[in-house]
């Protein structure tokens, strides 16, 4: 139990910071051509990905041929923290780099790795993740998009929804049902589908704030012909891969979430004295108290993250992932909520949102109230807060499962 890391980690940190200072894109460069969707990689972002790859800083935990340097988990943690602190994004295509590329590397053929995964790692392509469907939001087992084998192709029909970045992505990591006759969680397979294949229609879904900058999409597949060699892994093994693909850099997904909380909190702490200056002392005390409560949450989030990480680094299991997802997304929400309420009627005034490029596009943006509304993306997607609570209750506390339909 200690506050600081070993020398080996600190020297790793120093090397990274030196390299970043020399090679990072400037804030001006990023702001001039910001990413506007998680599938959108501006020219500077593509170059930056390649630069990181070549220097072994893209996925430090991987070997050099995959853009890494065989870093230890602790070094990777420090890497993620310092990148976030430097306000430079690793990628705008978070799902491509975080889930799709690793999954292809784990389960794909050499050709798929070369053509799709390496394209992501080289900054040449972006990917979207085709999981959710209208009737299967958090419930992958209910998905209906069908892929029927027809000679050396699959023919895909169906509809995806909430597909982040599909309006810009080059290809889709598509979950579809290849066998309708087996139990629900079986018969699901994964295809790599080029987004320019005929029959694909992408309909952006404007959101309740910033409707001019949609990131979510509906994606319609109408007799889309996908070469059979784009099947990832075994036929019908999609369910197992879905669970595997979410495990990449597991125990560290909280780092950017916590960083987002801390940046938002820092802004709130910075603004608050001026915001509350005209309030009578009693109301000021109440406003400050609400701010302090989220400040405690923010520190707790970081401490819980480190603790989950320490367990993982010692080879233990980390059931805290559900807890970190739940807690960090709700704390981010509360920071925005408290900030908006402390602003009072000023919070109702909106304006043009300036995407500043350094902030991940899926982070809440704009006014505090807009950030608050947008923060629900994080408490709803990738397993709602309700599902996380059930996971904690069942897997961490060992409470009996509810009877579930088979």
């Amino acid at each position: 139990m200690k506050l600081r890391f070993d020398e080996s980690v600190e020297s790793f940190r120093a090397e990274l910071l030196g390299w970043l200072a020399a090679n990072r894109p400037s804030a001006e460069e990023m702001a001039a051509d910001p990413s506007v969707s998680t599938g959108h990689a501006p020219a500077w972002a593509r170059r930056w990905t390649r630069t990181m790859f070549d220097a072994g800083w893209l996925v430090p935990g991987w070997p050099p041929e995959l853009g890494g340097r065989n870093a230890t988990p602790t070094q990777t943690l420090v890497y993620l923290e310092e990148l976030a602190r430097a306000r430079v994004p690793r990628t705008s295509n978070v799902q491509g780099l975080g889930i799709v590329a690793p999954s292809i590397i784990d389960y794909g053929t050499p050709e798929q790795i070369e053509q799709y995964a390496m394209a992501i790692l080289h900054g040449e392509a972006t990917a979207c993740l085709g999981m959710s469907e209208p009737d299967a939001g958090s419930d992958l087992a209910s998905l209906r998009t069908r892929a029927v084998r027809d000679g050396d192709h699959f023919v895909v029909d169906g509809q995806k929804v909430w597909t982040s970045g599909a309006n810009y992505a080059d290809f889709c990591f598509l979950f579809c049902r290849t066998d309708p006759d087996v139990p629900k969680h079986k018969g699901i397979s994964i295809l790599l589908v080029d987004m320019d294949t005929p029959g694909i229609t992408v309909r952006p879904l404007p959101e309740i704030v910033h409707p001019d900058h949609p990131d979510l999409n509906e994606v319609f597949f109408d007799s889309v012909r996908v070469p059979a060699d784009r099947l990832v892994g075994e036929l019908g093994a999609g369910w197992a891969m879905a669970n595997g693909s979410l495990a990449h850099e597991r125990g560290m997904v909280w780092v950017s979430a916590v960083q987002g909380i801390e940046e938002a909190l820092a802004r709130l702490l910075d603004e608050a004295p001026a915001t509350t200056a005209t309030l009578p002392p009693t109301e000021q005390a109440l406003a400050n108290d609400r701010i302090v409560q989220v400040a405690i949450d923010a520190t707790a989030a970081r401490c819980l993250g480190y603790r989950a990480f320490a367990k993982l680094a010692r080879g233990g299991t980390a059931p805290e992932q559900a807890l970190m997802k739940l807690f960090s997304s709700e704390v981010r929400q509360r920071v925005a909520e408290v900030a908006a309420e402390v602003q009072g009627p000023d919070a109702l005034v909106t304006g043009e949102v300036a995407f500043d490029g350094h902030q991940a596009i899926d982070e809440p943006q704009g006014t505090w109230l807009e950030q608050y509304f947008q923060s629900f993306a994080n408490t709803i997607s990738a397993g709602t807060s309700e599902i996380q609570r059930t996971i904690i209750a069942e897997r961490v506390l060992g409470l009996p499962r509810e009877p579930r339909p088979t």
Binding site: I208, T282, G344, P345, T350
Partner: protein
């Protein structure tokens, strides 16, 4: 104490609800949210003549035709004398459908100042639908200087509801050099006399504006509440409470609509082979949400009756109602959006109109913390 509507009031509610279902459908609200000009357009097959920029879809014209601005007003003021409960019913029904238009600002904020001033002629015009108004509260934000027979006003008024569209503004201002309960008055200022800065807001059905008064000269006849009269302060406190209770009623109705939408969605939406509303955790959250709405609703109507009967409990009741709206809006917004899942997060779904309106009503005229701080004084916890 009887907090249920009587038969006449129920009829008014049912009639208003059915009228608004036809005349203020979500498509009208969407037009406003999407910035389409909708002055004087075809509603339900007939052309409705627009009555100015605030007459969205001719809704205000239709409301005037129904006599709504006159309903609660006293007969002496050209009204129908049905009292505040009738006004409360309308404010509530308008909140339920996120209705745009001058009702809230004109009838529940502006008219009460006229009542306090005994301005029968102006009230007659309001009742007839010939005059819209706004109320610029906050004595600290503007100063008044006596200037011969008239007055000169200076200052900046923020977050004035309908400030950019109302014809007349009731401006609250403070005598230069005065403090506390002394020296506070209200003046009738034509909108044209002030520099108006409309604000882009999260809910365009509740348009706000900043008003700059830069040496505005007000004729002596336009003094509504003389700042030299010590009774003006209490009169304005009463006006503020009137506006606050109406806002609470309207906001709670919006929250109730969120809950109804969410309950309805929870019955339809299936996940894991069951309607999500059959999951116990969802049930209990919706029960708590329902309770929060009932709590705020009961307090809002209690405050409404206190206002209608001019009861001494109004100051406490009004502050409680608005504080409870804050609690209820916080929960309704959070749970309403969360339990709708992705669908409620899209612009295409109508839920966000309700969420943004509820938030607006909760944040205007003092949030929960403001009113709780006021209650600490009313309840004798602080001097």
């Amino acid at each position: 104490m009887d907090l249920e509507l009587d038969t006449d009031q129920q009829e008014l509610r049912d009639h208003a609800r059915s009228f608004l279902a036809d005349s203020c459908p979500p498509s009208l609200v969407r037009d406003l949210f999407e910035g389409r000009v909708i002055e004087g357009r075809v509603v339900e097959g007939r052309v409705v003549e627009g009555r100015g920029p605030a007459d969205s879809g001719g809704l205000w014209s239709a409301m005037v035709e129904l006599g709504w601005p006159a309903l609660a007003a006293e007969v002496d003021h050209g009204g129908l004398g049905q009292g505040f409960v009738a006004e409360a019913v309308l404010a509530s029904e308008l909140g339920r459908v996120v209705a745009p238009g001058p009702y809230l600002a004109t009838v529940t904020q502006f008219a009460p100042v006229l009542v306090a001033a005994g301005a029968a002629e102006l009230l007659g015009r309001v009742s007839a639908g010939d005059l819209t108004g706004a109320l610029a509260l906050g004595a600290a934000d503007a100063s008044a200087r006596a200037d011969g027979d008239g007055w000169t006003l200076d200052g900046v008024k923020t977050h004035v509801l309908d400030g950019a569209s109302a014809e007349e503004i009731a401006v609250v201002a403070r005598l230069v050099g005065s403090r506390g309960h002394e020296g506070v008055g209200a003046f009738l200022v034509p909108r044209a006399a002030v520099a108006v800065e409309p604000l882009t807001v999260i809910d365009p059905t509740m348009p706000l504006a900043t008003l700059r008064l830069d040496g505005v000269e007000v004729d002596g006849a336009r003094v509504l509440l003389d700042p030299r009269d010590p009774a003006s302060f209490d009169a304005l406190e009463h006006v503020r409470r009137h506006a606050t209770v109406a806002m609470a009623l309207s906001g709670v109705a919006t929250c109730r609509a969120i809950v109804e939408a969410t309950v309805s969605y929870a019955k339809q939406r299936h996940q894991f082979g069951r309607p999500i509303g059959s999951f116990q955790a969802i049930k209990h959250r919706l029960a708590d949400l329902y309770l929060a709405v009932e709590r705020a609703d009961a307090l809002a109507w209690y405050a409404a009756v206190c206002l209608a009967e001019d009861d001494a409990r109004l100051p406490v009741a009004a502050a409680m109602a608005k504080a409870a709206l804050g609690d209820c809006q916080r929960l309704a917004t959070r749970d309403g959006l969360q339990l709708h899942g992705g669908i409620g997060f899209t612009w295409e779904h109508d839920l966000h109109f309700l969420l943004k309106r509820a938030t607006t009503t909760a944040f205007l005229l003092g949030g929960a913390e403001h009113h709780r701080a006021e209650l600490a004084r009313h309840l004798g916890l602080v001097a």
